[in-house]
């Protein structure tokens, strides 16, 4: 048992990324504004702040006159979130020594796994990690050094390098182990995508709208959970429930205030699609305005040790995420198949004109579709927040995968959305084992999206109808 535990711990690779960054004058007290991702490839700066081609005004860390700092990011690369970033490891002690082994500074990683340690001048320093302060269940792999050498240069605000310490632990796992782990995280990720895809599918079915602001509904779930949890001090579970209710209310409100008037005006679907793009851009910037562009984590369940269940290892929170997602999806499917409202939704999705002439309140049914769809997407955001962290772009980054899932299964069909999501989730997580570069593991899923349009545009489970 002990050896098995050690093998599992070996999987838990702690990676220490030391990022050199000119230290802003205030950086000692607050965290620096745009946090560089742990892996350089995950840069994905769709951040609107920096977008229009290097225009001035994008937040850049300012350089203090003579201040140099070492920025250390400590993440657990065995427990990646959907963006391929590891979970941060807080409260770990770090010491910085100069070339003559003289201690020049020390720091403790914060909730984001980050520590910024000021050093007196440019030069070569050694950052040492105090292994005794690592949280329970996280250990450095045997062939991982606990210290790293950092060369402090100060050329400009973009000059930072990454020095991972312990991502080599995967060498100790067999292919079967890795496959089992990838399958599990694929199922977990697939279920999170499935919730959002189900939401998108419900809304698409009822209104015919390809909603490009759907990603922001996922983010809303994550951010609401964060606010309820951190600002109002609710426990994460309660905060999650609050967030789903907030999302449901938002779904109703946006239908009532935006989409229903547009339908009443007879606005075309293409025009509505562009409106949804504007709405998404609006919400995204609004989130960034109030939430800032940094990545934050909830107060509980941030890093949990994994327990072994036969061939697979799961943290309690991962098990909970899988179960909650399964129950929610099953409940929605049963509701759609068995209840009167579900039947009405399917009828409206099939033929709105006929449904209206049969005496159904089409607008009411569409309203319910928005409420349910947004609540499901919000739930997916909450689960994503618990699984990894909260960021204003978390939903936008997921949006294309959700589209891929829905198109793969067949636009507007419930079973298709579920099937497509699982395929996409597994592809994204298992792909790296078969040679897909892990920094671009989403690309495979998007390529499948385009291939499926070429071969079977109605999707695997879609009905054959004229879509061209």
């Amino acid at each position: 048992m002990a050896s098995r535990l050690m093998a599992l711990l070996a999987l838990v690779a702690a990676s220490l990324v030391a990022v050199l960054l000119p230290l802003a004058a205030h950086a000692g007290t607050t965290s620096p504004s745009p946090s560089p991702s742990s892996s350089p490839s995950a840069e994905s700066s769709a951040s609107p702040g920096a977008s229009p081609s290097g225009d001035a005004g994008a937040p850049q860390p300012t350089i203090g006159p003579d201040e140099t700092g070492i920025n250390v990011l400590l993440t657990d690369s065995s427990n990646l979130d959907s963006e391929g970033n590891g979970t941060p490891i807080p409260d770990v002690g770090l010491t910085v020594t100069d070339e003559s082994d003289q201690e020049v500074g020390e720091g403790v990683t914060d909730a984001e796994g980050r520590a910024i340690i000021a050093v007196p001048a440019k030069g070569t320093y050694t950052v040492t990690l105090d292994e005794a302060t690592l949280p329970e269940g996280v250990e450095l792999d045997s062939d991982t050094p606990s210290s790293v050498t950092v060369v402090a240069r100060l050329d400009g605000p973009n000059n930072f390098g990454a020095f991972p310490i312990g991502v080599v632990a995967a060498d100790t796992a067999t292919f079967a182990d890795k496959l089992a782990a990838a399958l599990v995280s694929g199922v977990k990720f697939g279920l999170i995508v499935a919730l959002a895809a189900l939401g998108l599918s419900l809304i698409f079915g009822a209104t015919g709208l390809t909603n490009f602001s759907h990603g922001e509904l996922i983010t809303l779930g994550g951010i609401s959970a964060y606010v309820a949890n951190r600002t109002f001090g609710l426990p994460v579970i309660v905060a999650g429930i609050v967030a789903v209710v907030v999302c449901a209310a938002f779904g109703w409100a946006q239908d009532r205030a935006l989409w229903r008037p547009l339908r009443a005006r007879g606005t075309g679907l293409i025009a509505m699609m562009i409106v949804s793009i504007g709405f998404g851009l609006f919400l995204r910037s609004l989130y960034q305005y109030f939430f800032s562009s940094s990545t934050k984590s909830l107060s509980q369940y941030t890093s949990q040790a994994r327990e072994s269940y036969g061939p697979i290892a799961l943290a309690d929170k991962e098990l909970a995420i899988i179960l909650i997602a399964l129950v929610a999806i099953a409940a929605v499917c049963v509701a759609l198949m068995r209840t009167r409202l579900g039947k009405a939704m399917r009828a409206v999705s099939d033929n709105p004109a006929l449904a209206a002439s049969s005496g159904m309140r089409v607008d009411g049914v569409i309203s319910y579709a928005w409420i349910l769809g947004t609540a499901l997407s919000g739930l997916s955001g909450v689960l994503l927040a618990i699984n990894s962290q909260v960021n204003f772009l978390m939903g936008f980054k997921l949006l294309l995968l959700v589209f891929a899932a829905v198109t793969l299964g067949g636009l507007g069909t419930i079973w298709g959305a579920l099937f497509g999501s699982m395929v996409i989730g597994l592809m994204v997580e298992v792909g790296p084992l078969f040679g897909v570069p892990s920094s671009i593991k989403e690309v495979g899923a998007l390529v499948v999206l385009i291939l499926i349009l070429l071969i079977r545009p109605q999707g695997i489970l879609g009905r054959r109808e004229r879509i061209g």
């Binding site: 490839s41 025009a271 504007g278």
Partner: protein, 331 residues
């Protein structure tokens, strides 16, 4: 509050290289969306292949600058063919999803660590623009008080507006031709055009290629003007901003995208500069608990999103457009 400064910043940007990039991209989108009714949400992808076409040819392959320019036009052409083939026969929203996904694939691949040797990773590529820079006839920049350009920018502005003028001329000529009329009738009623014996697919493909090459030109110009190609410059938001510029000026109008890009950049940098000033200093106009420095640069994007929505709802024809021209719908 220095309104002269705000105005001059806004005007300099509105006539500057950034506005030119958006004008070129929006001219391409105008051919796609305005004239043919194609929903290309991946213009950033076309821009990226244009820019990387040049940079990779010159920097990585070590070929002459001229070959790089040819590649910068060949790459978007190829992309348009590859993209159009599976999606042009399908409903409009499928093209939208496929193009946005392609743009994202390209950005991720160009920025990936694994392809660093070919595309330079997230730091991108530099060192291909010396030929372009050496052609610069100006000896110094200008400062007329209300508009200021450095020497490099002045050269880019000159080249850029010539390109935009040529682009407008091409679009003007093409859309007056029988070919252009077929495109517009495809936008209005595809089936009717088909029943007249026109090959709708071929026309759509030609429109996609032409508009995509304008996108490539925008990317090429961006690459030349800032002497570096960085994947984050080609994010999906760029496409959305270009759509905003197009809809602002008026789709299906030759000068619509150009005027739209100028107004878009005037407002964007004017608002940025206004809120920047309003939140800076010891006693800012807007107290810092409402808005701090970082937030002040975001207000304009909130407004951009809102503007795109309101434009599409209340004035889909934009400032100069004709409402009948833009009465498109999903088929």
């Amino acid at each position: 509050m220095d309104f002269t400064d705000i105005f001059s910043t806004a005007l300099t940007q509105a006539l500057g290289p950034n506005a030119i990039v958006y004008a070129l991209a929006a001219i391409g989108l105008n051919i796609h969306f305005g004239y043919t009714g194609l929903l290309n949400f991946g213009q950033a992808g076309f821009m990226a292949v244009g820019a990387y076409g040049l940079a990779v040819t010159v920097v990585v392959a070590g070929l002459p600058f001229g070959v790089g320019l040819v590649m910068a036009f060949a790459a978007p052409l190829l992309l348009a063919v590859l993209l159009g083939f599976p999606t042009l026969r399908l409903r409009a929203d499928y093209l939208a999803i496929a193009t946005i996904a392609t743009a994202e694939i390209l950005r991720l691949v160009f920025g990936s660590v694994e392809m660093k040797d070919y595309f330079g990773g997230s730091n991108g590529l530099t060192g291909y623009s010396s030929v372009y820079k050496d052609l610069n006839p100006y000896s110094e920049g200008i400062d007329w008080g209300i508009v200021r350009y450095s020497r490099d920018d002045l050269w880019s502005v000159t080249v850029g507006w010539v390109l935009v003028a040529l682009g407008c001329l091409i679009v003007f000529a093409l859309m007056r031709s029988p070919w252009g009329r077929v495109l517009r009738s495809i936008r209005e009623d595809e089936d009717a055009v088909r029943s007249l014996g026109k090959n709708v697919f071929a026309y759509k493909m030609q429109a996609l290629i032409l508009g995509g090459m304008f996108g490539g030109l925008a990317g090429l110009f961006l690459a030349l003007k800032q002497s570096s190609v960085v994947p984050s410059d080609y994010s999906t938001n760029i496409t959305f901003y270009a759509y905003t510029a197009l809809l602002l000026g008026g789709a299906a109008r030759v000068l619509g995208p150009v005027v739209g890009a100028i107004i878009f950049w005037f407002l964007l940098s004017g608002l940025g500069s206004f809120f920047g000033q309003a939140t800076s200093g010891v006693d800012p106009l807007i107290p810092s608990w409402i808005m701090d420095d970082t937030q002040s640069s975001l207000v304009r994007f909130i407004i951009t999103g809102l503007a795109l929505m309101l434009l599409m709802i209340y004035r889909p024809q934009g400032i100069f457009g004709d409402r009948r021209e833009i009465a498109i719908d999903g088929r």
